[in-house]
Subunit: 493 residues, 2 copies
């Protein structure tokens, strides 16, 4: 794959000049056409050998196109905020909205590149990094973020010559970063690392393009051409079904049907237990062990199931500086211009933090499914994307607890009527709640399938009968405390 | 001001119950009315004695009102990201959008409170903190963020009794934070600190309300009533003219008229000088001293003055991970729902970072003034707000360099025609550019007044003749390098 690039091909000045004008015009036209596309962003990953002129070429793209709609996303070693979150968090956070272009330096290939360039790459780690990269790119592509990957390459001799030339002049020597000086010593290793990475991650929805980089003019033209192809409207590759296909068949149990809705707690016992569990929760998150973990709580359930009240009993035990509550309703226009999970990634807490979601990313497979807001292909794919998201959180130290507060159909009706009669609860009941109630069975079916497909070891579902609010609130607190204490216990040993 | 609160008044259960229903109904109604107001957010500052039940009361507000439109903004000691920026940065960042309510714990009163509670408060520091607070609140109020400040207070005896009661039971002892245990020892000092602070910062546009807090029921009702008053549409206090009034008279010189537009650099000299200054810039920002400073560059100038080209010559010397370029155009709906300076505050770099603005916060007194987008009272006030913003940046270590690239009217015409003829520069010329050109003199007048009012020692204007692009680019680089080297020199000594 590097044969052409390592022959260090050259473009003469006249040909370059002839090519440049139509290329620039076409790039601008394509960029403006893309701006009007409400569904697709373009991410350009700049990778390859150091000292091959990546930076200069990206500067050129900014000169050739309208730089107001291009964002350079450059990442180095993770900063203090980043180190306390899953490794992909910073990339999710920085995704450009639909219509725009992002250019990524220091991309998600860095850990893979580092491993592949070791004297003896560790096979298991390589495989895991490759799997992470493939998943990320499949999810991005399926959610409207097109990925184009450029590998800047040149021969060993050309690299040596270029570095020497720059170092010879004190006014250009700064362009050679310390690590670049060593690159030509490690050329063979980086070359074979590149080969392996490209072979493993060159996919129709996220292709690699090798850019011959010894000659500035050719490098510029080839880069422009690759970007132009990616922006072309005909170039809209589908994600291979293997990468993000339909979920496997599972046995769907009726977990909502099997509950004991009569579960009940009397007032004295409630007050005593509530206080006890709150005290234990307060102690758990104040301990040293929690500073290396975080807590993510998702609350789902039918309307009027008592999510808000349960959340307040939890936060009562928490320092307001530690937690955020995110109520999830219809996405904003900014959120719609990003992949579905983007708005949840942005709210991932750092170590020591607590994120509480009043409704959550499961809206995709609940309301969006039942209300037919999202086509089946998308919500079906979401199960796998959500499991992947949650497993990344768990790996980075998050304790994930997901609740479904379950009211019976009769109790819901009673609460709806109560709300209508109360002068300060009226706001909690809308025509939409009544419409949702008519779809009771469809929601039940969606919830049961969701439990079956997303009940994982690291992020289990807790389905809690909530006809008795006191019982539900104590169960919620108890479940959180037990999950947290078990996780923190591991942290200590 | 604490007489009533220290008499520890009590509300009996029956009266409280009678008051609660109409109060909750009215609060909800007022909250929903406010949601429709596209111009006003409400910030509630929760302050006062520790252990007076601030947290519990705020929980109650969330229960009484619709919590989906209330955000709790809780701040502790500055985190790593916050410590590298101006102290007010985190508050600006967290401002709720118009229509919404934010409740602030650990507000901008913390440094003032800490100083006032010293055995011997330092008068000069007190005065400075008070001035900072007054400026911030005046700017917020004038820009659509209403501020209500609650001081939770009770008598020394009541505080002691409450703390003892909580500590006696292991299940409630966690509610008493370590610092709360000491509070009653420091009661007298905190009391007089509160007195001083309230006296100095109780203003019509940001009033203090003392909440008697010994009795839970009364505390709740009084808090609800204070919030209700603040939400009332009749309650729309004007900012006192002294706080953010019209700018003082200044002599406005015609700096744009006095330039030498013939300044010129030939190609060889240009290439040599460019390289030299780029190398010096690269060295300066790579040094250790820069890790305690940051660089903020603002580029203004007529259309086609060459801002983009000059910026690219600067970034050519920089590591892409260090800088961001923010092109400023019409604000988004989210930005319009916040105070004018909010979108610039969000982009303030941390130490070691570089923020480049292609057009800037000066849009307020340039395009928004000339195009009559903003009423005169607002853009006139902006000079002072901008000076205050920039002085906060400078105090936190930012090196601020502001450029006006000045083309002559003839040269602009030549460039417009050139752009129209070029297939890949057409996108840079729009009917709006021609319309702006017709208002050449109005823009000139606005620019000259802007120079006169915002040319400060810590953030000077550099007006650079730009008819010759080469000359302008070298001047820009040279100016940045000189400002940076001077600042870093100080850092070393």
């Amino acid at each position: 794959m590097f044969t052409e690039a390592e022959s260090d091909p050259v473009l003469d000045a006249d040909t370059a000049k002839e090519l440049e004008t139509p290329l620039r015009t076409a790039l601008l036209k394509a960029q403006y056409a893309r701006l009007l596309d409400p569904r697709r962003a373009l991410l350009i990953v700049a990778a390859g050998l150091d000292g091959a002129g990546k930076g200069a070429t990206i500067n050129l793209l900014n000169e050739w196109m309208d730089p107001r709609h291009i964002r350079t996303l450059a990442f180095g070693e993770p900063g203090p905020d980043e180190a306390k979150r899953p490794p992909l968090w910073r990339y999710w956070n920085a995704l450009p909205p639909a219509g725009r272009i992002g250019i990524v330096f220091g991309s998600w290939y860095m850990p893979l590149m580092r491993e592949a360039a070791r004297k003896q790459p560790r096979t298991a780690r390589m495989a895991r990094h490759i799997e992470d990269v493939r998943r990320l790119e499949a999810t991005l592509a399926a959610n409207g973020v097109q990925v184009l990957k450029l590998w800047f390459h040149l021969s060993k001799d050309a690299q040596r010559t270029r570095t020497r030339r720059l170092l010879a002049d004190p006014d250009t020597a700064w362009q050679v970063a310390p690590q670049d000086r060593k690159v030509h010593k490690r050329f063979d290793r980086l070359r074979s690392a590149g080969q392996e990475i490209i072979a493993a991650t060159d996919l129709p929805h996220a292709p690699w393009v090798v850019i011959p980089s010894a000659d500035e003019r050719l490098r510029a033209v080839r880069t422009g051409q690759a970007v132009l192809r990616a922006l072309s409207p005909r170039h809209a590759p589908r994600v291979a079904s293997g990468a993000a296909g339909s979920p496997a068949a599972v046995r769907i149990a009726d977990r909502l049907g099997r509950l004991d809705y009569a579960a009940h707690l009397d007032k004295d016992q409630y007050e005593q237990e509530l206080l006890q569990w709150q005290a234990r929760l307060a102690r758990a998150v104040r301990g040293q062990a929690f500073s290396r973990r975080c807590l993510v709580l998702a609350f789902e359930g039918q309307d009027a199931a008592g999510k808000g009240g349960a959340i307040r009993r939890v936060t009562h035990a928490l320092d307001a500086r530690r937690y955020t509550i995110t109520p999830i309703s219809a996405p904003s226009s900014e959120e719609l211009a990003h992949p579905y999970l983007w708005r949840f990634w942005r709210r991932v807490p750092a170590h020591g933090g607590i994120a509480i979601f009043d409704r959550s990313w499961y809206g995709r497979v609940l309301a969006e499914r039942v209300e037919k807001i999202t086509p089946p292909a998308h919500w079906r794919r979401a199960y796998e994307e959500i499991n992947d998201f949650e497993s990344q959180l768990a790996e980075a130290g998050a304790v994930l607890v997901k609740f479904w507060l379950a009211v019976s159909k009769d109790e819901q009706l009673r609460r709806f009527h109560e709300r209508e009669k109360s002068p300060f609860k009226q706001f909690k009941i809308t025509p939409e709640d009544w419409r949702n109630r008519e779809k009771w069975d469809a929601y039940r079916q969606a919830a049961n399938e969701m439990f079956a497909r997303t009940d994982t070891r690291h992020a289990p579902w807790h389905v809690i009968p909530a006809d008795d609010k006191r019982h539900a609130r104590v169960e919620v607190l108890k479940t959180i405390v037990q999950a947290l204490e078990a996780a923190l216990q591991k942290e200590k040993t």
